[in-house]
Amino acid sequence: MTKTLTVPSEMQTAARPQLTETMLDALREIGNIGAGNAMTSLSMMVDARIDMSIPDVGVVPLSAFTSMAGREEAVSVGIYMPVEGDVPGHIAILLPEAGAMRLVDQLMCQPPETTTALGAMECSALMEVGNIFISSYLVAIGGMTGLNLVASPPAMALDMSAAILSMLASAVAQLDDDVLTIVSKIDERLQGVDGVFIFVPEPGSLSILLRALQIEG
């Protein structure tokens, strides 16, 4: 399968088609299928219903990327995973500290507010959740498109949300000044767990996804 990196850079910058409404719909559908499957697996892990918003799909300028999830300096847990295979890209889950602690309580079947700090054990539990969550997302997209999306080992950070998000943008910034993002928000009203889930396909992956869905790029 064609690796993005082998495409000459001048071709690649020009390769991203102008996003039409049909393409945006298709990407929204991809995000939706992925998030739906990921939510089902997360709901099973915490034994409670968790929902996600219809994904937002858009092209975000680098300069605005880190303010996407609200307060840039909010302490958040970030679980990051590079995606390889047919659709190279980058995925992260960003959970504000309070929401992450609520999620830990649910995972451990503890009463709410039992967890008051995120130590090694809590972080390791969250990383495992992130791993399963992202893998379910990728499996669903793979099933829908017939493409092979390979999850890499996850990495984790507890820091300012902007610092975590900038990781995704820097990963694709070499060729582009703006970033194609597919974002779903975890619905906070159900379990008090807020957070965002962000998929950033590499510049060359967009046309691969669209082709698989038989949409002309």
Partner: protein, 191 residues
């Protein structure tokens, strides 16, 4: 406060203005100051090198941001030989079992920024670079550079253009000591 987002480069001159880059991870905030001209500038670089490609966004890369920073400051009356620089950022935020070289953008940015500054004969007076924590960086039009991290809160990194004492001590990294920074400020305020 004047926000400097990823890949942006901004110059400020107004009294009391503070250039701010929020939550730098592997990115680096290059803070530059010419006290005589009263010109402060900040570039929020994302990656080490533009390669051969001509970018419409010079603030994005270490190698293109430094010359652009100088030109923009000169337009406001700064003189290259008077410009002093402090840098912050370049962290490696994520710990991972094996995602390999993707994670080391921070350290590579730091090397590229130092090279670009050396090439343009700008000296780094103080730096807070590397480690595994994100940083917010402030560059005031008074020359004061501050850094904030989650673990350690906010502290003064250096007072740029604060005279020979700042320069020598800054080079010895004692600028990291808050007591020093207030001493530097006192020296500056006497001038």
């Amino acid at each position: 406060m004047l926000m400097v987002g990823m890949a942006e480069l901004k110059v400020a001159q107004a009294v009391g203005e503070v250039l701010t880059a929020l939550g730098l991870g592997s990115c680096i905030g290059i803070c530059a100051f010419d006290r005589q001209a009263g010109v402060a500038a900040m570039a929020h670089i994302v990656l080490p090198s533009s390669g051969k490609q001509i970018s419409e966004n010079p603030g994005k890369f270490a190698d293109t941001a430094v010359p652009k920073l100088i030109v923009e400051m000169q337009k406001k009356g700064a003189i290259q030989s008077r410009i002093q620089v402090a840098i912050a950022g370049g962290a490696q935020l994520f710990v991972s079992s094996g995602s390999g070289d993707r994670m080391d953008i921070g350290p590579r940015n730091a090397v590229a920024v130092r090279d670009a500054l050396r090439e343009h004969r700008l000296s780094i007076i103080a730096e807070d670079v590397g480690g595994s924590s994100g940083r917010t960086v402030y560059m005031g039009t008074d020359g004061l550079v501050r850094v904030k991290t989650i673990g350690q809160g906010e502290r003064q990194l250096v007072l740029l253009g604060g005279g020979s004492m700042t320069r020598v001590a800054g080079a010895l990294n004692s600028a990291l000591d808050p007591a020093f920074s207030s001493a530097a400020r006192a020296v500056y305020e006497r001038q």
